[in-house]
């Protein structure tokens, strides 16, 4: 038992100092790595335009990764998010090209929110394991996307580019402003609101949460709403950055979530030192910097780059767990 009667006042200060030291070491380490990468790439890596490219490509996975943070925090998985992203992006494109920015925003947000809300309502009320229900829903959403694309009336309206004058939310500086604003909101929701704490309690120990009077069903539906909004914004960014969204079948829509999952895994490794909501954009940028560097180094995209990603994850995992004590008696 920790009898820390006299040490409590000093503990937070000590913790802050520890975090500050870690932050300094982390920044210096990243700076050194980037400097070395820059040398290796003959000065291309740290070129202003290249940094902008990395930044703009890391925004979309950041949003999806934030949604995954809530999902993992409550102890559920949702394999249909790729399908939701496809349909949300379609809606953003369709309405955007019809009514401009309000359409871009409303299309992505409404479809993202409604579909993820439906998912979580199903998880909450049916008792089907979320990964099974998620796969089923993912297949339905993919089929829906195929039907919409094949439709004579709206097929051509979704399988087209978002008009260039409505793409500001996927381009700098608009996307970064959106990211910073979202980070503040999401940080507070995750860490400093009753619903955020309840979500984490539910994922951490459902029995304790229930015994403490937390309504599990309501909390789960709240996760659906929060994830839905974040995924909705992800749809907007996705459509605005990539301009056009292709239809996916056979659960290949899940590919849209793989790299955000890698971002969350990296962020979880850093979680002991950096709040996960702040760690997510950092990890997203870092991850895309690595991909960018690999491309500069002419490493073929696909399997080889993914192998490098896996190796980086393992390496980070080892560093992140270095000296971790586990259970303390």
């Amino acid at each position: 038992m920790d009898t820390k009667a006299n040490s409590n006042a000093a503990a937070p200060t000590k913790k802050k100092m520890g975090n500050l030291t870690f932050a300094i070491i982390f920044i210096v380490a990243v700076a050194v790595i980037f400097f070395l990468l820059n040398l290796l790439s003959g000065g291309i890596f740290l070129d202003g335009s290249n940094i902008k490219l990395i930044l703009s490509h890391s925004i979309y996975p950041t949003f999806v990764a934030w949604a995954l943070c809530f999902l993992f925090a409550c102890g559920y998985t949702d394999m249909s998010l790729g399908g939701v992203l496809v349909l949300g992006s379609f809606a953003s494109c369709l309405l955007g090209n019809m009514i401009g920015y309000p359409g871009v925003i409303i299309g992505g947000l409404v479809v993202g929110l409604i579909l993820v809300f439906i998912n979580f309502t199903i998880f909450a009320f049916t008792g089907i394991p979320s990964w099974i229900a998620g796969i089923s829903l993912g297949l339905i959403y993919e089929a829906l996307a195929v039907i919409i694309k094949g439709s004579k009336s709206i097929g051509k309206l979704v399988d087209t580019d978002l008009a260039s004058e409505y793409r500001a939310l996927g381009q700098l500086p608009g996307s970064v402003i959106l990211l910073l604003a979202a980070m503040v909101v999401i940080y507070f929701v995750y860490n400093r609101t009753t619903i955020g704490l309840n979500i984490r309690a539910m994922g951490g120990n459902k029995e304790v949460a229930r015994a403490m009077g937390i309504n599990i069903v309501k909390t789960l539906i709240a996760v659906g709403v929060i994830c839905g909004i974040i995924i909705g914004v992800g749809c907007i960014i996705q459509q605005s950055t990539n301009v056009r969204t292709t239809v996916k079948t056979g659960l290949t829509s899940m590919n849209m979530v793989f790299q955000p999952i890698a971002v969350v895994l990296l962020a979880q490794i850093l979680e002991r030192k950096i709040n996960i909501i702040i760690a997510v954009p950092i990890c997203s940028f870092f991850l895309y910097a690595i991909f960018n560097m690999l491309t500069i180094m002419h490493v073929p995209a696909g399997t080889l780059q993914d192998t490098c990603l896996g190796a980086f994850l393992v390496l980070f995992g080892i560093i992140g767990n270095w000296g971790y004590r586990g259970i303390v008696k």
């Binding site: 009898t3 609101t193 009753t194 984490r200 403490m212 009077g213 008696k329």
Partner: protein, 501 residues
């Protein structure tokens, strides 16, 4: 005369076909400290859970301060002034201690929807000060903390609702002596304030010392309520099990008896993070070597180090007969050593797996056939044999562990090691959360193991236990060995406490 605060009439609770509580009648007065005692599975925790709003009732009535009381949830019970610290509920490791304290009430610290973690931590510290409880770092997440810290957070959580009735379900056995004394002080203060406590503990002597009255349950029925000052521990034990339980269940000899051969030797060992330093001792075949100490004494780390679960910075742990140095739990397991940890649900058992799988796990190597495939028949045979030998109360070996009572879980936890041909058994609080019947059974198993020449390290927060069973006792303080006392020396609580403090 004290006013009646809680009145229960004809309370029933069914779990499927099991009639857990049968027509319970129960009264509690203001300022009364009431002990609830009974064998594992007698319905104690169920009754208290009904009062605390965790379970509903199938029939019967409850009145609180004369008004009908039927809590729909623990939160509902909290708002009526009843709070409970549960035996095995736990905390949310991923959240800071302060959030765990105010879980379900975090809205109290919200301004404009934003919760102030600083205010929450301060309120939790204030609660610790108010009740003179040891302070836990309320800003830190609870993952990785020990069972005692987590139990203290649960206690602060219950106290934070300012209860009129506080329910403590086997809390004392998770605490070391110093924190247990603080809890006794808290109980006294509660009584002085005219508040009531319902308390479950399997330590009969402790219960009679700290309570005013004791209600005994057996098979879901109230056997009787007696005044603590007017009964002896033997009377309570007899009421609990329905037969005469007089006589000591500890050893009745007063001399250390063990063989000469050294089984385990710890040589100037300091653990990786310094919980213990410079520890040296030998444990012999047929010896029970006891360890006791206050909360920061490091006794539990000794067990972990001896089994290779905690790394060491310096020194050496060897199994002398084979000359094997223990560097990992695998080495220990392969060298015929076993370990029963204190936190049975989190560190010992596969709680969602079957009794069968739990019995078989440490013997997996021995259960392999010629082609290296584990034989299902052998696993079943071993599990049935051990279930019968350990008298595990379960329908069959395929029942999941989480459906068993605490005592039966501990029988599986211990029995799976006794199924093996061991030379060393490390027991960390082996009787935590078990009733007197199971306790007596475990002590008998230890005596049998001693006869067979198995060397045992007995780590315990219960002084009576280590004094009752050990050949030699090592008293530890601040991670160091303070004194070694032999059974034929000054082997009394008084002398040991003098060394501990």
């Amino acid at each position: 005369m004290s006013e009646r605060i809680l009145e229960i009439r004809g309370l029933n609770k069914y779990f499927g076909p099991t009639h857990a509580n049968k027509n319970i009648d129960f009264d509690l007065d203001q300022g009364e400290i009431r002990g609830i005692i009974g064998e594992n599975g007698s319905g104690k925790s169920t009754l208290l859970s009904q009062i605390a709003g965790l379970y509903g009732s199938d029939s019967g009535t409850m009145k609180l301060n004369g008004k009908p009381y039927a809590p729909k949830s623990p939160l509902d019970a909290n708002s009526s002034g009843i709070a409970m610290v549960l035996q095995e509920l736990g905390v949310v490791g991923g959240l800071p201690a302060a959030v765990n304290v105010y879980l379900g009430h975090t809205g109290r610290f919200a301004k404009g929807g934003i919760v102030s973690l600083k205010d929450m931590a301060q309120a939790a510290y204030d609660e610790c000060d108010k009740w003179n409880l040891p302070k836990v770092d309320m800003t830190e997440r609870l993952e990785g903390t020990g069972i005692e810290t987590r139990k203290m957070v649960e206690l602060v959580r219950a106290l934070s609702v300012d209860p009129q009735i506080l329910i403590l379900d086997e809390v004392t056995q998770s605490l070391s002596l110093n924190n247990r004394n603080r809890l006794y002080e808290l109980i006294k203060r509660f009584k002085e304030m005219g508040r009531s406590i319902l308390l479950i503990t399997h330590d009969v002597e402790e219960m009679l010392e700290i309570t005013d009255t004791v209600t005994v349950l057996r098979d879901g029925e109230v056997i009787g309520t007696v005044k603590s000052a007017e009964v002896k521990p033997e009377d309570i034990r007899t009421m609990m099990v329905g037969r005469d339980m007089s006589g000591s269940y500890f050893r009745d000899d007063h001399t250390p008896t063990y063989r000469d051969e050294v089984i385990l030797k710890m040589d100037n060992v300091t653990s990786e993070f310094g919980e213990i330093s410079d520890i040296s001792f030998e444990v012999h075949a047929g010896e029970i070597l006891g360890f006791c100490g206050l909360s920061d004494s490091g006794i539990h780390t000794v067990g972990e180090v001896a089994y290779g679960l905690t790394k060491i910075r310096s020194g050496k742990v060897t199994l002398e007969q084979q000359g094997v140095e223990i560097t990992s739990a695998t080495t220990a397991l392969n060298s015929r050593a076993g370990y029963v940890p204190k936190d049975r649900d989190n560190q010992a058992l596969m709680i969602n797996a079957s009794i069968r799988d739990n019995f078989a796990l440490p013997s997996a190597k021995e259960l392999r056939g010629a082609a290296g495939i584990i034989s299902g028949g052998k696993v079943n045979a071993l599990s049935w044999k051990m279930k019968d030998k350990m008298s595990v109360k379960a329908r069959n070996i395929f029942q999941p562990m989480n459906a068993l009572s605490g005592g039966n879980k501990q029988k599986v936890n211990l029995g799976r090691w006794l199924a093996k041909d061991l030379q060393l058994l490390i027991l960390d609080c082996p009787t935590r959360g078990v009733d007197v019947g199971v306790k007596a059974y475990i002590y008998q198993l230890m005596k049998d193991a001693k006869e067979q020449g198995i060397a045992m390290i007995l780590i315990s927060d219960e002084l009576t236990e280590v004094l009752g069973m050990s050949d030699r006792l090592i008293v530890m303080k601040d991670g160091k060995m303070k004194k070694i006392i032999r059974r034929d020396e000054e082997f009394t609580e008084h002398s040991v406490i003098g060394e501990m403090i």
